[in-house]
Symmetry: C2
Subunit: 596 residues, 2 copies
């Protein structure tokens, strides 16, 4: 069964205890949000997710979306849930108060997103895409457009989309064909077909605001000729009420592996009225504002599903009686022991647990940087935050979704045959999680972004925003008895990462295919070091709390156990990644193309 209780204690640990000394300040600019207030928000969010979203998750998967009279219908209950969600203000949590948002820090918003994704990742896309679209409008649109659209989008009354992909181009948007013809009144007429448009149409809001990549007639070829346009489904009147339909139609919805309650639409724009967002031919920059926000959020999808899958697996492992503990019966009163006694079942549960805790901790660090970038009074901190976010965005996207998928698979494996059956609900996690490794740029593209752009950028300055705190922490604390063996593990993996960085930089300069062949392993290596750093810090804090005496000894002991498992059982993957990188591109490129 799908069970979920928001991991509030661990979330508070990440929020309040883990990242205070990581260089991005103490949420100081958000001083109006006291820790107590933030905790109360988390508790409310947990209730909302558990009570409103979770019950719709499995039924939504079974029912799916459908088209009725040219309009997409979401599964039963989604509209009511969305109304509750919106009316309680969850849609506007992190948005700018200028547009009606609540202005909460990303450090809290990303934890709420995690809960939403854990309980109903299909649902999460509707407000999620809207949030991405408002970010792009805020960053790039004219004041008129902002005034006309942001209040209703921030409140969730209208939703948003990102219309990028066409059937012949996803990664390579330079090939796109949708046209935008300028009109005398300054507007444009947009014509073309887009595919894979999440929340492209649905029955949750009255209007859908599309952000559409298209070419003007005079556009240069390739990505340098793409502009971004705002194209509403219905044209708003001057008073904000809805006017005429705008030639935006949904041509079909996709039959997908999962995420069935999220409508993935083929959209046709037929001479639709649109307005330019940002500069002509600079649509890619505006699009990346939206995309980068979304990439971190997609990472959070992996984390959320991983946590839900983990919890569902634990519940089953406690309850399913099968066999006896290898060292002798643990529950002789029962016909068999619960399977959680078996080391190999614990291996699976611990792996999933470590992945979610590790990603949550690393994600919390990135959220802290997102807040500092926006709100820190110190320009140096803001700049460092920008560097760090640039570096970590592809890592969060790819690492979290890879590991979330693995956790979902471990949950199915824990259930055995029952995991393969729809009614138990865990195979849905696998199907739902699979897309997160693909959309918003495949994980391979994230890895190329990391090694090809983020790593070399500005003489490695992005990397320093990550290497420096890791290195300082190790220098300061690796001798401490309580964490010594773990610190040695991290030191070694960090050394491998530094070596690999040098190798890739050097080889990649002469031959970019060398960087490309190393990319995926390098991203994993960097992610493992990032998680290892968080676990080492966590273990140190836990050790201190336990030494001081605490009435939460159970929590801190568990944190030590989780960190121990990470260093013993997960971090060794770093060695394999390093060896693969070291071998270079040779064997990846050796096979003749026609011999595949």
């Amino acid at each position: 069964m799908q069970v979920y209780e928001a991991p509030l204690r661990d979330m508070r640990f990440v929020l309040h205890e883990l990242h205070g000394d990581d260089g991005f300040g103490d949420l100081a600019a958000h001083a109006e949000f006291t820790p107590d207030l933030l905790d109360a928000v988390l508790e409310e969010a947990a209730r909302m997710a558990q009570e409103i979203l979770l019950p719709l998750n499995a039924p939504g998967d079974i029912e799916g979306c459908r088209i009725e009279n040219g309009v997409v219908r979401t599964p039963a209950g989604f509209k009511a849930a969305y109304d509750q969600f919106r009316e309680a203000g969850w849609a506007a949590l992190a948005s700018d108060p200028q547009w009606g948002g609540q202005g909460l820090p990303e450090s809290i918003n990303k934890l709420v997103e995690e809960m939403i994704c854990a309980t109903n990742v299909s649902f999460s896309l509707y407000p999620g895409l809207t949030h991405g679209a408002t970010t792009a409008i805020e960053g790039h649109a004219s004041d008129d457009l902002k005034q006309a659209y942001l209040p209703k989008m921030v409140s969730g009354e209208w939703s948003g989309t990102m219309c990028l992909t066409e059937s012949h181009c996803g990664t390579d948007l330079g090939l796109l064909r949708t046209r935008a013809v300028p009109q005398e009144d300054g507007s444009f007429r947009v014509t073309g077909s887009k595919i894979f448009i999440s929340a492209g149409d649905h029955d949750l809001t009255d209007n859908v605001i599309h952000l559409v990549l298209a070419r003007m007639p005079d556009a240069p070829p390739g990505v340098k000729g793409i502009s971004l346009f705002l194209v509403p489904k219905f044209l708003p009147n001057a008073d904000g009420t809805l006017g005429n339909a705008n030639g935006v139609t949904v041509a079909g919805i996709e039959h997908k592996m999962g995420m069935k309650a999220s409508a993935t639409c083929q959209m046709n724009f037929d001479d639709s009225v649109g307005w330019l967002v940002g500069e002509p031919h600079k649509g890619m920059a505006a699009m990346f504002t939206m995309m980068n926000t979304e990439r971190v959020s997609v990472g959070v999808q992996g984390l959320g599903i991983g946590e839900a899958a983990y919890q569902s697996a634990v519940a089953y492992a406690r309850e399913r009686l099968q066999g006896r503990a290898l060292g002798g019966a643990k529950r002789p009163d029962l016909p068999a022991d619960p399977i959680i006694v078996h080391p190999d079942v614990r291996r699976m549960l611990m792996t999933a647990r470590v992945y979610t805790e590790g990603c949550r901790a690393l994600g919390g660090w990135v959220s802290r940087a997102l807040d500092a970038e926006k709100a820190s009074a110190d320009p140096e901190v803001r700049a460092r935050a920008t560097d760090f976010i640039a570096l970590m965005t592809p890592v969060v996207k790819a690492l979290f979704t890879d590991l979330g998928y693995e956790s979902a698979n471990l949950a199915v494996q824990t259930y055995g045959g029952h995991g393969y059956i729809r009614e138990h609900g865990v195979e849905q996690y696998v199907r739902d999680a699979r897309i997160a490794m693909i959309y918003e740029g495949t994980n391979g593209i994230q890895a190329l972004d990391l090694v090809g752009r983020k790593m070399p950028a500005r003489m490695g300055r992005n990397l320093r925003a990550f290497f420096h705190p890791v290195s300082s922490f190790l220098d300061a604390h690796e001798g401490e008895e309580a964490i010594k063996p773990m610190a040695q593990g991290l030191r070694q993996a960090f050394g491998a990462l530094q070596l690999a960085t040098g190798m890739i930089a050097q080889r990649g300069m002469k031959d970019p295919e060398e960087a490309g062949a190393a990319a995926t392993d390098y991203l994993r290596l960097l992610g493992l070091v990032g998680m290892g750093y968080c676990f080492l810090k966590s273990a140190r804090i836990a050790g201190q709390r336990l030494a001081e005496g605490t009435d939460e000894a159970g929590f801190y002991k568990a944190k030590l156990a989780t960190a121990g498992f990470f260093f013993d059982r997960i971090l060794p993957q770093a060695t394999a990644a390093f060896l693969a990188i070291k071998s270079g591109k040779r064997s990846t490129m050796a096979l003749a193309e026609d011999a595949f």
Copy 2:
């Protein structure tokens, strides 16, 4: 799109070139089957799979099975395909000629199975389960039962099942509740409910012969009180025609993640007439005869799906135009390069290719042992074959299905967003492949079987059947210039495997949980060494052929490239597995049960 062309050249390589000196002889006992004849069988099988089974694979997934008037209906076309399959003799390929089989060696049968699984794994279960059931009947049933059932089962006129699992017990069959009450005429009356019965009911054959695990009234508790019974759906008359229905009903079919054209049934036996197969209370032994056969076949499912997924990914990577090669455009005549030029795409394709070639090669070695065990004139060879099969059965089952699943996922990733959409057909491979890691004993159970039973058995004699050829080959050839770096890699991994074996043996003696905590990593380590051995041998043969001069230089060069990728990029996983094993059970068992 799902495309598949049987990899006949690689199959012939495994069949004729790779395993001649691996200690199990040269299929000598099957001398009547000349290499030319075997190759002709492979070609015929390829045609059958490609032309009859493949076209039904995607439609079968969409339509699925359903119950109509108490009978399971398979998807459109399955009955006609099964008739063709059976009439052409494919059902009886490896069965004993005494019962109407063609008696072909397993070395060829497993390759044919691979093709069937690659093109329609749902279909494969109908003849596959029958084959498992006939094996158990041949090995354990009375002559009367054999005479009455084997000819019609071997011909495929009747099908078979394995009725083991009940809702509260899968792995732990000691808990099962189905009852068998002896009758005066020597028959039994069987009553109980079974779940997850593949091919439990369907419309492909006139009769279904169930092999049912049940308890007699006087049975001791646990697994020592389980007996095996043959229970037909319809009771045959003395003349072989079908008589009365036998109280066997299908209570429902499961809604599964995949394998939708394979009916997974809940079966009720209500005072059904059955006959004992084998000794009373020794049902587990008879069941394992069937189960071990099936375990190797389930491994082959992983291999087959992996190959099909790989080929589908290659086809897409050749055709999908997106971006330019990192080193400059490769196809300036096209709007973009095909994505196969990108190193990270090649990494995915090469990984899947190496997994399938590696598993096929290792599987070929095991098939050779299966043939030698049955047919070798030399009792020492037969004994060694038995040892080797015992050791490798869990490895083939778990390793091949893990890697097949990974290959299916790599294919989806290669397709990007299109891979997530049903119409492209590759997400089906992921859904279909997922169950193979679970059924016939989860992969975790396979690993426990390996470390808990197969490894320590008879003072490590099973292991020696594997270690000895690896060690001899390295001793004899590791100095050869052409394969030196690969041989060093294998020597190192083999050393780690030997060390790990010693560690587990020593620690596991004092504490079986130590063996349990190491099991999955140990199985992977052993599997990697096994594949490495096969790749090293393959590379050596390829090098020799190329040096001698050959008109198949393309094939042998590709083999060298594949081997190179394995040693550079895949074998490093052995280090991670070794380090995880070395860390012991501590961190796996550290977390308090209530802290999960």
